[in-house]
Every structure is written in structure tokens, then in C-alpha cells.
């Protein structure tokens, strides 16, 4: 029973198992005795179940296929002569799959035995230093998979999903405006991005953004860039000593 178990564990899938049964019973793959193979297949599945092996759905699907073929073969062939062109042997598709599978199963073993880089052959690990320093030009082809994987990573790490938040805590734009002005106090400028870093919540981002827009509208800050597409810098546009006296109450901003 033990050796049986090991064997069962080794089957890659239903086709693998079928091939094994065909070989073991020395059946002709082009003329599979469908009743016999079906029976053997079902017995094996039972054995797998008895051994508490997880019989995957694929194995059961194949059992159904075998039974279906068997029933088709049992049907009397009416007017055999006339229909012979169209009527395919019910086993034909299965035979094709088996032959095809056998081919790849075999060649995968050949591939495995092929000398592999990193296992049997080794290339130089360290390229010449003088080559490494050089400027980069073209592109190394990156697969679409890398693009997808990168996107997935971003979305996974994204602070919060893009879903509508109903129970959002009420954040005051005024408070945020004051906080930004406080941050600006004592420094010449700050990077736009700094206000949004540190994994802050989406709702906070929006409030921060609105606060910045208000500050620009009120001409209290200016946005500057050194270069196109460069970092956006925020400069205070008023004397910060006067900030406290400015009326930036909620009502005057039109938000509530």
C-alpha cells in the first residue's frame, strides 16, 4: 500500500495517471480499451480517496470524460457507412491529448537534463568595472509581467483604496491652512510633496490640497519650480507675522 501511495502522489494530473495506466497495462494508446481503462482509473481514484489524498477536481472531471466516452462507444452505430466521414471515434480527442501530453512530459525531462546556467554552467558574475560606470542608453526589455507586478505592488501599498468613504472624520480646512502656515514659519520654503508624505490618509490629502488652493487664492503662498516637472516648492507670500491676523474662517472660504 505504501508504494502505491507514493506513486499516486506523483501523478501530475489525470493525463499523467492515464498514461501511467496505459503503460502499466500495455494498452495500445491508439485503441484504448475504454471500459478497462475507465475501471482502472476509477479504482485508482478510490485508492487515492482511501489514502486521504486530495483528489483534485481535474481527476474527477477526467473520470466523467471517460464515462462519457464509454457510454458513447456503447451506443449502436446507426447507418455506420453513411456517417463515417463525420463521426469521429469518441476516443480521438483523448488520444490526441495523451499523445501531446506525453510529448511535453518527455521533453521536459530532456530540458531538465540539459546543462543549466547556474546549476551546471557558470558565467562570470562580475562585469568589468569600467563597463559598469557607463551612461545608459536604450532599454532592457521589461516584460509586461513586471509592469503588472509593479502596479499591483503600488496598489497593495497604497495608503488607502479608492473607495468612497462615508464616515469621514470632519477635517477643517482652516485648521489645515493654519498648520501649513505654521510649518512654513521659520523656513524659506517647503516641498509640495512633503505635505503629502508619511502615509497620510486620503481625506487628509484632500483637505491639505484644498487648503493649499485656498492659500494660493488668498495669495498667502506661492508655488515655484526650478525646472519643469521638478519639485514644486511652496513659498510664503506674506509676512508670516501677520498670518495670525488674517481671517481664514470657514465661512469666508465657502466650505463648511
Amino acid at each position: 500500500m505504501d508504494s502505491y501511495a507514493i506513486q499516486l502522489d506523483n501523478f501530475e494530473g489525470p493525463l499523467d495517471l492515464l498514461l501511467h495506466l496505459i503503460k502499466k497495462n500495455e494498452m495500445d494508446i491508439y485503441d484504448i480499451p475504454i471500459a478497462a481503462i475507465t475501471e482502472q482509473y476509477l479504482v485508482t481514484l478510490d485508492a487515492m480517496k482511501n489514502l486521504n489524498l486530495d483528489v483534485a477536481g481535474e481527476f474527477l472531471l477526467m473520470a466523467a470524460t471517460l464515462l462519457h466516452i464509454k457510454s458513447k462507444m456503447l451506443l449502436p452505430k446507426i447507418v455506420e457507412e453513411e456517417l463515417e466521414e463525420d463521426e469521429e471515434d469518441p476516443r480521438a480527442e483523448l488520444v490526441r491529448r495523451l499523445l501531446e501530453y506525453q510529448k511535453y512530459k518527455e521533453v521536459s525531462q530532456t530540458l531538465e537534463n540539459q546543462p543549466q546556467l547556474g546549476r551546471d554552467l557558470f558565467a562570470r558574475a562580475a562585469p568589468e568595472p569600467e563597463v559598469l560606470e557607463e551612461a545608459e542608453s536604450g532599454f532592457i526589455a521589461v516584460g509586461l509581467f513586471d509592469l503588472l507586478a509593479a502596479l499591483q505592488d503600488v496598489l497593495r501599498e497604497s495608503p488607502e483604496p479608492f473607495v468612497h468613504e462615508v464616515n469621514m472624520e470632519q477635517l477643517s480646512i482652516t485648521d489645515r491652512i493654519n498648520a501649513i502656515l505654521t510649518l512654513l514659519q521659520g523656513q524659506e520654503s517647503m516641498a509640495f510633496g512633503d505635505l503629502f508624505s508619511g502615509g497620510i490618509k486620503r481625506s487628509e490629502m484632500i483637505v491639505t490640497f484644498l487648503a493649499l488652493l485656498e492659500l494660493v487664492k488668498l495669495r498667502m503662498v506661492r508655488f515655484m519650480q526650478n525646472v519643469r516637472h521638478g519639485t514644486i516648492w511652496i513659498f510664503p507670500a506674506v509676512e508670516l507675522g501677520k498670518v495670525d491676523e488674517l481671517d481664514v474662517g470657514e465661512d469666508s472660504l465657502g466650505y463648511s
Binding site: 511535453y104 543549466q116 516584460g143 509581467f145 507586478a149
Partner: protein
């Protein structure tokens, strides 16, 4: 340039490259006709054959690379050069199917293997042995897969045509034209590895390997 001068220079270029290097690229860098580079490559290969070195010249992934001789593998592994990646049987089977039948969709692979192949595909993609070539222009627009340059490099193949030949287990039953009716895949039964008329446009993506 004299071939006696050129040969060690070509050897240096291959030695210093961080992967297989194409003869064309060397010709360009040295501003020499391709024929001279090829002659130097021949001389180099002959030289290695005559006085065995620790490595040999392998034609791989459309280029040339120096690789250690396989009989030294044990010692090199001892020095910590082994790659911890070992193929499982499902991974090898899947890789083989894709290598020979590319461009191929996941459902075609699973039809052939008879089992779900999603996680194997993902692993092979992560190992960069497979890549997504795009989408097949059929309902559902499934992704189509193919092998990569890294695949060729791993198995030391100059190009896809150098894959070991598939052993044909038979000439199939002669009349096979009606298999499409059943919705089954058109199975590949002939010598031509990439014959798959439904996806002709993605064949272009292989040209980068040639």
C-alpha cells in the same frame, strides 16, 4: 585588424559583457566588418578546443558567452555558486509546453496538462523565464505567454529553434481537420514548432531573439 590581434580583443569583449553579446554588437564597437568578428570567434572556439580552458564559448540567446565547463559544476557549487532554483515537474512541463507552442494561452496550457497551471505560471513569470506577449484576439482576450531571453540563457540555447526535438509518438489518425468543431484546441502535430495561424501577429515578438 590582424586576426591574431583581434581574437584576444574579442575574447575580452565577451569576457567583460554582462550577458551573451551579439557578434553584430562587437562589430559595431570595433568598427569592423562582421565577417572579421565571426572569424575571430571561430579562432577563439578552436583555441579553446585545442588547449582546454576552464570555460568554453557558448552560443546562447543570439549571442556569445563564456561559461565554465559542466564537469566543474560540483566544485563551483561548493564555492557557493549555486542558484537555489530547482524546477518542479509541473514547472518544467509548463515551461516545455510554452517553449514549444508559444504564443500560448493559459487555457491551452491547462488543456494540455489537464490541471490548473496558474501558480506555476506566476512562478515562472517571477523567475523571468516567461513573459506576457500580449492578449489573444479571441473572446475574453486571454493573455498569451512566451519564453524569455533568460529562458534561452538558462538552458544555453542560441535560439528557440535549438530546442530539443519533440519525439513524435505517432502520425496521428489521418483525418484531423474536424477537431476544431468540438472546440478543442488545434493540437500541434507537425514538425513546425510555431505554426499557429491564429496568433500570427505575435510571432514578431520572437524576432528579437534571432
Amino acid at each position: 585588424m590582424d586576426i591574431l590581434e583581434l581574437t584576444p580583443l574579442v575574447e575580452a569583449l565577451i569576457f567583460a559583457a554582462d550577458g551573451p553579446i551579439k557578434a553584430e554588437r562587437m562589430a559595431e564597437a570595433l568598427e569592423l566588418p562582421l565577417a572579421e568578428i565571426l572569424a575571430a570567434l571561430d579562432a577563439l572556439a578552436a583555441d579553446y578546443a585545442e588547449s582546454p580552458r576552464g570555460f568554453f564559448l557558448q552560443q546562447v540567446a543570439g549571442g556569445y558567452q563564456l561559461r565554465t565547463r559542466p564537469e566543474y559544476a560540483d566544485y563551483l557549487r561548493k564555492l557557493g555558486h549555486s542558484r537555489p532554483f530547482r524546477f518542479s515537474r509541473p514547472a518544467l512541463e509548463t515551461l516545455a509546453i510554452i517553449a514549444y507552442r508559444q504564443p500560448v494561452t493559459r487555457s491551452e496550457i491547462e488543456y494540455l496538462r489537464g490541471v490548473d497551471s496558474g501558480s506555476v505560471l506566476k512562478t515562472l513569470l517571477e523567475k523571468r523565464l516567461l513573459r506576457i506577449l500580449g492578449k489573444k484576439d479571441v473572446p475574453g482576450k486571454p493573455m498569451i505567454y512566451g519564453t524569455t531571453r533568460e529562458f534561452l540563457e538558462l538552458f544555453g540555447l542560441p535560439d528557440l529553434s535549438a530546442l530539443p526535438t519533440l519525439r513524435e509518438f505517432s502520425e496521428l489518425v489521418p483525418d484531423q481537420d474536424n477537431d476544431d468543431k468540438s472546440g478543442a484546441l488545434p493540437l500541434l502535430v507537425d514538425e513546425e514548432i510555431f505554426a499557429d495561424d491564429s496568433t500570427g501577429e505575435s510571432r514578431d515578438s520572437f524576432s528579437e531573439y534571432d
